[in-house]
């Protein structure tokens, strides 16, 4: 279960490129752990280190800029998190300490994975993203109010589905939420079992 997400202030780390796919967030070769941890070292490995498979930081890459060492927010481009459905991308972001990604748009599987791991995927249009970047200052994200603001007083609203918002705000686990509907599920399955018995492999063999 993730930490509740309420209000967060952080200097956002700008990584404004379109179509950053999950293989760039964590290359397949860096998914060395069979679990959800020990992945942070592989985050953005292809850009972050000088050589493929190496660990010598590439000073050119923004993540290695000491100014952003404490950033918990990424400022991205369009179609963030596209490509493979690997949740390792989000696990690596979370383990490294990121709590929010602000981008023009997100790949749906990635956005869903974010919410399930306590990371807010917040959509802003490109003008707003540029304004945040140019300000070079921390942003404050208020999830309850659905606002992102900067010190100059500029503020934008971002869309988020009610359920995703509730899950992030309260740090709720989706499985627990759904298990509250266990009665609905078993009633539905009982009816379905007579309508489509072939779906239920355990009881018909």
């Amino acid at each position: 279960m993730a930490e509740p997400f309420t209000i967060l202030t952080s200097l956002p780390m700008p990584l404004i490129r379109d179509n950053i796919d999950t293989d760039q967030i964590i290359p397949s070769r860096e998914m060395k752990s069979t679990g959800k941890t020990s992945l942070a070292d592989g985050l953005f490995a292809g850009w972050r280190y000088k050589e493929i498979g190496g660990r010598e930081p590439d000073p050119e890459f923004v993540m290695n800029d000491p100014a952003y060492a404490d950033s918990t927010v990424i400022l991205g481009g369009a179609n963030f998190g596209s490509g493979s459905s690997r949740e390792h991308a989000v696990w690596a972001l979370a383990e490294y300490g990121f709590r929010a990604v602000i981008a023009q748009s997100f790949a749906p599987i990635f956005a869903g994975n974010c919410v399930r791991n306590g990371i807010l995927p917040a959509m802003l249009d490109s003008a707003a993203i540029t304004a945040v970047e140019r300000s070079g200052a921390p942003v404050t994200i208020d999830l309850q109010a659905r606002t992102i603001s900067i010190a100059s007083g500029q503020s934008w609203t971002f869309p988020i589905e009610e359920e995703a918002k509730a899950m992030l705000l309260e740090g709720l686990d989706a499985i627990d939420l759904s298990l509250k509907l266990a009665d609905n599920i078993s009633t539905w399955q009982d009816a379905d079992r007579s309508a489509r018995p072939w779906i239920y492999l355990g009881v018909n063999t």
Partner: protein
């Protein structure tokens, strides 16, 4: 209000367990398929949370992603630390009581190839796997799509997922394909014309004369790349071909249940008056062999075309081509036939028919990886392995193999590969490897020529 529904509406409505606040729904999931790359993580995390797989009889797992594909394989794999993924998935599958198709199981193979072979995917069912190409299985009139590991856990624990309903799109391929043109060329044409984000937010039904004319294996190739179109899934209304394919498969219904199932499956099509949020029509007779030039699958052109004048600099720089350059004739270092897109028996037969009596060009590394152990056996029974080997291809055990790079085996850094796979992303097939995606026919023609070539010139 006509009451006329799309196939997608029917698949969706028949699985809604409850409406959720905020407009999403709790949707019943009929089948879950795991693989060794993420299976242990999902099963272990479930167990650690003290939860159980609600119905293990409807959850399956396979070793396909990082398993070795060289002959005589064991749990050892070239990916550093890869063996742990296999052994931990095996242990977790056993503990959870789910069915695993293990490394040397006769039914082992790429998840999206074996699920249909075993009759695990069925028309009208919902099937998920933590793999974005799960949409391949939509070819059977199922709603099948890729999810993350947390959602796999959710589905296993509750038998459901929480989902917002995507919009409905229909892509109709009218008319007929010309000789030698394949389903891979159809989907690449859609991607070239409408872009890699063209299906975003939509569930896509493939329809039209040219789609119905495809066999089940061709339909799977078409649906396979719905995810490259950014669609939630792709699917095709089931018909007699679908039913014939499934009848008698291990997990398909039998006897009275088969007849009952057939009656229900025959209802699975879009009603004549059903309205889609978006419709696309493509004339199948206009389709030519297609090859990708860039680093996303939408960056694709016809074999006789040139790299577009407005091509972006970054993909050109990576792939090493120039605006206005002809794609035909670009020298290649390697050729790959395999993956859940194009590794079924019919793909291998068509490739072998072109290879027969020919040899690949000097210096080209060529590999053929059957999509499943069953495909491999059937191909060998027909002598296809010998045709591949005599022509200079390596013949492998089944698995994902070099469709993607997991830190193990790959093509040489920077090499140019023509490949029947579905993704041409940077370093997808190995560090700095440049991938051109195309049909098996185009891959074979190119392997023979040592450069990107038009299969039409071989036929």
């Amino acid at each position: 209000m006509t009451g006329e529904r799309t196939l997608f509406d029917k698949l969706w409505d028949s699985h809604v367990v409850a409406e959720l606040p905020g407009g999403s729904a709790l949707v019943a999931i009929d089948r879950v398929f795991l693989h060794e790359r993420t299976g242990a993580a999902a099963l272990n995390s479930l167990a650690e949370a003290g939860r159980k797989v609600a119905d293990p009889s409807r959850v399956f797992a396979v070793t396909d992603h990082i398993v070795d594909t060289r002959p005589g394989r064991t749990d050892q794999t070239l990916m550093p630390g890869g063996q742990a993924f296999i052994t931990e998935t095996r242990a977790a599958a056993k503990a959870a009581g789910i069915t695993l198709f293990d490394v040397n199981d006769p039914d082992q193979g790429i998840v999206h190839v074996i699920s249909p072979e075993l009759g695990i995917v069925l028309p009208g069912c919902t099937l998920i796997a933590p793999d974005s190409h799960t949409c391949t299985q939509g070819a059977f009139g199922a709603l099948a799509w890729g999810i993350g590991s947390s959602e796999a856990e959710h589905a296993m624990a509750t038998g459901t997922l929480r989902l917002s309903k995507p919009k409905a799109m229909r892509v109709r391929f009218t008319g007929r394909l010309n000789k030698g043109i394949t389903p891979k060329d159809m989907i690449l044409t859609l991607l070239a014309q409408y872009g890699a984000a063209g299906g975003k937010g939509h569930a896509v039904e493939f329809a039209g004369e040219a789609v119905l004319a495809l066999d089940m294996e061709g339909r799977m190739t078409l649906c396979n790349m719905a995810t490259e179109f950014s669609a939630m899934s792709g699917f095709i209304a089931p018909d007699q071909q679908t039913f014939d394919y499934l009848e008698g498969r291990r997990y398909a219904p039998e006897g009275t249940q088969w007849r009952q199932a057939l009656a229900s499956w025959q209802e699975l099509g879009s009603d004549a008056g059903a309205v889609f949020d978006q419709e696309i029509e493509i004339d199948a007779s206009s389709i030519t062999p297609m090859v990708s030039w860039g680093t996303n699958p939408g960056q694709t052109i016809g074999i006789d075309a040139v790299v577009p004048d407005d091509a972006e600099a970054a993909p050109l720089d990576y792939i090493g081509l120039a605006r206005g350059q002809a794609i035909k004739g670009v020298p290649i270092d390697a050729a790959f036939i395999g993956s859940c897109t194009n590794s079924r028996l019919s793909d291998l037969r068509r490739a072998a028919a072109l290879l027969q009596g020919r040899e690949i060009a000097d210096g080209v590394k060529a590999i053929c990886v059957p999509g499943s152990s069953r495909v491999k056996r059937e191909a060998e029974a027909e002598g296809l392995d010998l045709i591949f080997e005599n022509a200079g291809f390596e013949w492998r055990e089944s698995g994902c193999s070099m469709c993607f790079y997991a830190g193990g085996e790959s093509f040489a850094a920077g090499s140019r590969v023509i490949s029947t796979t579905n993704r041409n992303f940077e370093s997808r097939q190995g560090p700095n490897v440049r991938t051109h995606i195309a049909s098996p026919e185009t891959v074979v023609a190119s392997a023979i020529a040592g450069m990107i070539a038009d299969p039409g010139e071989l036929i």
